[in-house]
Symmetry: C2
Subunit: 336 residues, 2 copies
């Protein structure tokens, strides 16, 4: 039934070239200690037979896979794929292969992902996850899998972490709005169910700021869909004719802008919107979206570089922070 050729093994190469396994192994690993003549002979049969070493067997023998496990929530977000892009760039440059693990919201699932990362025998892992608990990361780590955790503060022998600081920039923005007294619009935070740790941290910052100055605010639940949010806000704007909205992603922010305009409101005069996870679309959309920004591609690259250092036992700075920068654009009012 198997009409396709079986994998050629090192044995067959050895036999066909009239040498031993060890010699073939030396040739493919360029270990030296092989005469030019035999090397050429072996290389010729490798070419002729189309031999490709089995990464599996090699990994089992050396316990080095050159595989890096990458754990992400959905691959469906622009900022996540930007990060993935950064990771792939460095991985490619440094000769690593990536194994992708996607988590969902359930606890059960998180456990199964942890399980898979461990059994996969990756050399290291990069975990961007809003769902996994600290203890999950520790589990992975306890199985000798050096890990870079993104968006969670974790310390350990073979762990590094990268964190985001949106809080500072957000506080600055809110403070500035207060000082300039342009916060006459009711502040509204767009809450997305199960959107993870990053968003809730930012939400807390938002809440704390307003509580501290004893100012009222609203939390508005939205679906994580720009289409739904658009329609929700068409409704919303029937009763509420202004507001300052903090939205998680560009597409959600844009939905609000569109709903506002389609409800006869002006942006930013009546409705102001900022996006937390800004992408290039913040600049493409009209009006341009005021947004916070972290270069996720850089985050991905940095994570890989840190992991590589960690693998070599040379990671000095185990913690790295990316500060979000805020760029005011057309969806907010600068001065009163």
């Amino acid at each position: 039934m198997d009409y396709l050729k079986d994998r050629v093994t090192i044995y067959e190469v050895a036999k066909a070239s009239g040498v031993s396994l060890a010699t073939v192994s030396r040739v493919i690993n360029k270990r030296g200690n092989v005469t030019d003549a035999t090397r050429k002979k072996v290389e010729a049969t490798i070419e002729r037979l189309g031999y490709k070493p089995s990464g599996l067997a090699r990994a089992l023998a050396t316990s080095v896979t050159t595989n890096i496990g990458v754990v992400i929530p959905s691959a469906n977000y622009v900022y996540i794929s930007n990060m993935l892009h950064g990771i792939t760039e460095v991985a490619k440059e440094k000769g690593f292969i990536l194994t992708l693990f996607v988590t969902s919201y359930s606890r059960e699932d998180a456990i199964s992902v942890v399980e898979k990362v461990i059994t996969s025998h990756v050399d290291g892992a990069i975990i961007f996850d809003d769902q996994l608990d600290k203890e999950d990361v520790e589990t992975i780590n306890s199985y000798s899998v050096p890990t870079i955790v993104i968006n969670n503060k974790i310390v350990g022998q073979r762990v590094g972490c990268i964190n985001f600081n949106h809080e500072h920039a957000l506080n600055e923005l809110l403070k500035e709005r207060k000082q300039k007294n342009i916060h006459h619009k009711p502040p509204v935070f767009l809450h997305v169910h199960n959107a993870g740790r990053l968003l809730s941290r930012i939400e807390k910052t938002f809440i704390k700021f307003h509580n501290d100055i004893d100012m009222s605010y609203r939390i508005f639940n939205v679906d994580d869909s720009s289409k739904r949010t658009y329609f929700d806000f068409l409704e919303f704007f029937k009763k509420n004719r202004n507001g300052f909205f903090v939205a998680y992603r560009d597409s959600i922010a844009a939905a609000i802008v569109n709903a506002a305009k389609d409800s006869g409101l002006e942006v930013p005069k009546d409705v102001e919107v900022v996006s937390i996870i800004g992408t290039k679309y913040a600049r493409i959309l009209r009006p341009n979206l005021s947004s916070f920004y972290i270069n996720m591609q850089e985050v991905g690259k940095r994570a890989m570089y840190m992991l590589i250092d960690l693998l070599k036992g040379e990671l000095i700075e185990k913690s790295y922070k990316f500060d979000a920068t805020y760029t005011a654009r057309e969806s907010t009012i600068e001065k009163e």
Copy 2:
């Protein structure tokens, strides 16, 4: 130096529970033929020791990895990550792990990716690639790696393929524009260097259509960057005050729309734009972009389903086609 615990092996579990390897193996694989008592005993020590089977060793012994190789060009495009999302969904549901390979433009690189896919010992591969040649796919295939190829017509014993048909919809659109006589604007195709096979096929269709009716057109080279394209078109619109533009992606199309508006032109009155690879941003952007659309998440899911059938030797329809649908929105004129 290695302060972290070594991996627990099946040997240690066997010894600790006072049984043989074989019994432990039976327990973890639920093969039966084990008394409840011993099973419980073994399960207890597995739990106690924190034993996780090595996927590597298991794969070597069974030659089943449950890994699927996924080959893509850059992870940085929305439509690619949409597809990846679809792939991850099904992979997760069916218990497969994904290994990611990213190609670049060079021939050299394509070869190294092929090499890696083979040595990685994946059970199957999904290849979306505008760069790999037919012969590369055949190479992979000849190493017993069942493959689903996206965006290339390839036949073979253990290959399936998924193709896109933008040509029909594009021809229809162009024909309709001609009939309704709204093609008074000079048609311009946005050519992106090295953007791959999909775009060049569409470009050919565009060219052929106009050649066939002996109508002039322009090919305009743009960078694959919305920012650059925006500035290029600010220049362009200094001399050219109208046009019908066919752009590869939403972000490029949006750049043209923005440049047109910022040059005092009206969309769609003076400048019309359509996007070939439409994403949700076509609906979010204002004016909405008229665009072609293929649900890439569905493509990803379909690819996985086809691959799974292929692995079981049950793939009947080895070829599947996704027709692009065209949706006219605000960036084009419907009627004269």
